[in-house]
């Protein structure tokens, strides 16, 4: 604070405070909420800006004059076909149901991950810490590999699969139209503040598929009387409805919202409690059960209700999570909105575990090894496939139609400017 009282630094301090508070890109010269810088809420979190000096150029907008002269929506498709004089964007993307992907979520959606190599001395080297600055400036999240908005090949084990990549494969006009509006500790309550960082213009932009997925923090906290601090079904109803009304005022007509239920976190204790944590692997002296007790004792447990040896408490936490999921289900069933239709799906943990078992994997591999709490890269990638299949079979209208010009777009524009 004293540093910020210097007149020369006051402006910079204000900017830092603003971006931290609002979860907006730190480097965004034109103020359109999209950036050319990867971390600090930059293009790891939202599609990369292709012109950071022009506020009318950003991913997800409907093209200006069919992008005959320049790429106004950053999807890499622009210019005019010399053979017939028709702009490529018009030829390939007109009526193609172009739409973006937006995630409103928590640390699981932002893909929280602490590399185990950072605390496993047998694997430790300068190479294992090379990603430290990037990880810190992305809040220890890796949205670029995540289940909904991932777009880069995973460098943290497993593989990358995401709703965005699949939608882009389905329709190359969707290139770069992604936003990961998530934060560690995100819950239905604090999401009401975070949601304001959504970048979508109702009149100028394409519709979007919004995934609302706060899968645990409404029942997870580190307090000793954890049950007393959980969101009640009434609060959940009010919070989610407020968020949906906000979305209705911002999303272009024709958008879709998918509400995801809360996870059943008993999976964590059941599969990890007697295994060794990375810190305990050398001397076989730290199990996850010990880690959970330690964090609980310090009141910094990410989830006292599930990460505990108290089975009754674990069951009560799951019971509340189920009640909150039912609230979401009921909202999806009964509420109607002007600019989007709304669906509900359970968090696909059971199917993910089953799928992984069929592939020869073990359930503990679906959990982040260091924190013993979040879904791993493998769980994220498998989850995508399950969500996609569900949408394809039950709500095909949500995914839009396949673009018959994909091959031509790829042939002419190659990697479309990359991500």
């Amino acid at each position: 604070p004293s540093v910020c009282s210097f007149p020369l630094l006051a402006g910079l301090c204000e900017k830092i405070k603003y971006v931290i508070r609002n979860k907006l890109p730190f480097e965004d010269f034109d103020g359109d909420k999209f950036s050319t810088f990867p971390t600090l809420r930059g293009y790891h979190w939202r599609g990369r800006d292709c012109n950071d000096k022009n506020t009318t150029v950003y991913p997800g907008r409907r093209p200006v004059n069919w992008d005959a002269k320049s790429d106004s929506n950053c999807n890499g498709i622009w210019g005019v076909d010399p053979k017939d004089g028709i702009p490529y964007e018009e030829k390939f993307c007109k009526g193609a149901d172009s739409q973006g992907v937006v995630l409103l979520g928590d640390s699981a959606g932002a893909h929280f991950h602490i590399p185990p190599e950072w605390m496993t001395v047998t694997q430790m080297s300068a190479k294992s810490f090379a990603n430290l600055p990037m990880a810190f400036t992305d809040e220890l999240d890796w949205p670029q590999f995540s289940e909904i908005t991932g777009f880069l090949n995973s460098t943290i084990g497993g593989w990358t699969d995401s709703l965005y990549l699949r939608l882009r494969r389905r329709n190359r006009c969707n290139h770069r139209d992604l936003q990961n509006i998530s934060q560690n500790g995100g819950s239905s309550g604090n999401l009401l503040y975070l949601i304001k960082s959504l970048a979508r213009n109702q009149l100028l932009d394409n519709p979007a598929i919004v995934i609302y997925a706060t899968i645990g923090n409404d029942v997870c906290n580190g307090y000793r009387d954890t049950l007393a601090h959980m969101t009640t079904p009434q609060e959940m109803f009010s919070n989610v409805l407020q968020a949906l009304r906000y979305l209705d005022s911002r999303l272009p007509n024709g958008s879709h919202v998918i509400l995801t239920g809360l996870v059943d976190g008993r999976f964590l204790w059941d599969n990890l409690h007697d295994r060794y944590h990375p810190l305990g692997q050398l001397n076989r002296d730290v199990t996850y059960s010990q880690l959970y007790s330690f964090l609980d004792c310090l009141q910094v447990s990410p989830c006292s209700g599930w990460l505990t040896q108290n089975e009754t408490l674990r069951n009560l936490t799951s019971e509340r999570a189920l009640q909150l999921s039912n609230v979401l289900k009921e909202i999806a069933r009964s509420e109607k909105f002007a600019n989007f239709d709304i669906f509900y799906m359970d968090f696909p943990l059971r199917q993910t575990a089953e799928e992984w078992r069929k592939m020869g994997g073990k359930p503990w591999q679906l959990i982040e090894p260091v924190d013993g709490f979040h879904p791993s890269q493998i769980a994220a990638a498998l989850g995508t496939s399950i969500t996609w299949q569900k949408a394809l079979h039950e709500w095909p209208q949500v995914l839009g139609k396949e673009n018959p010009f994909n091959d031509q777009i790829e042939a002419i524009f190659k990697d479309q400017g990359g991500h």
Partner: protein
């Protein structure tokens, strides 16, 4: 909550230093240097400052076979809330956690006094 995170951070780092020394069969000082060298160059300054501040005490205590919980409690980076138990990650030492922490604090005080004396 902030205090809790400081404690977690301390226990993690001290554990890593302890295990690095064990794995490479080196001194604790060498393990700290190794850890700082692993970290990207831009952050090494902070690492060396922390090693300078806490290193001698951490080395002294680890050399006397104190575990990370005991080290962090004696450095006051882990604190016991009134009426609450002592938080620990590792199984408590045979003499008991409280006794080990008291002993570690005595060692630290001696080390500090010695440092002041040497400085004088």
């Amino acid at each position: 909550l902030y205090k809790g995170h400081t404690c977690v951070g301390c226990v993690l780092v001290v554990s890593v230093i302890e295990q690095l020394a064990q794995w490479h069969n080196s001194t604790v000082k060498a393990a700290m240097e190794r850890l700082c060298n692993y970290i990207p160059e831009k952050l090494q300054g902070v690492c060396y400052v922390l090693a300078e501040l806490y290193g001698p005490y951490i080395a002294e205590l680890i050399d006397r076979e104190m575990n990370a919980d005991v080290v962090c409690h004696s450095l006051k980076l882990c604190k016991q809330d009134p009426g609450q138990p002592l938080c620990h990650l590792y199984p408590p030492p045979k003499v008991g956690l409280s006794t080990a922490i008291r002993k570690a604090k005595r060692i630290m005080k001696t080390a500090k006094d010695l440092k002041i004396f040497m400085g004088f």
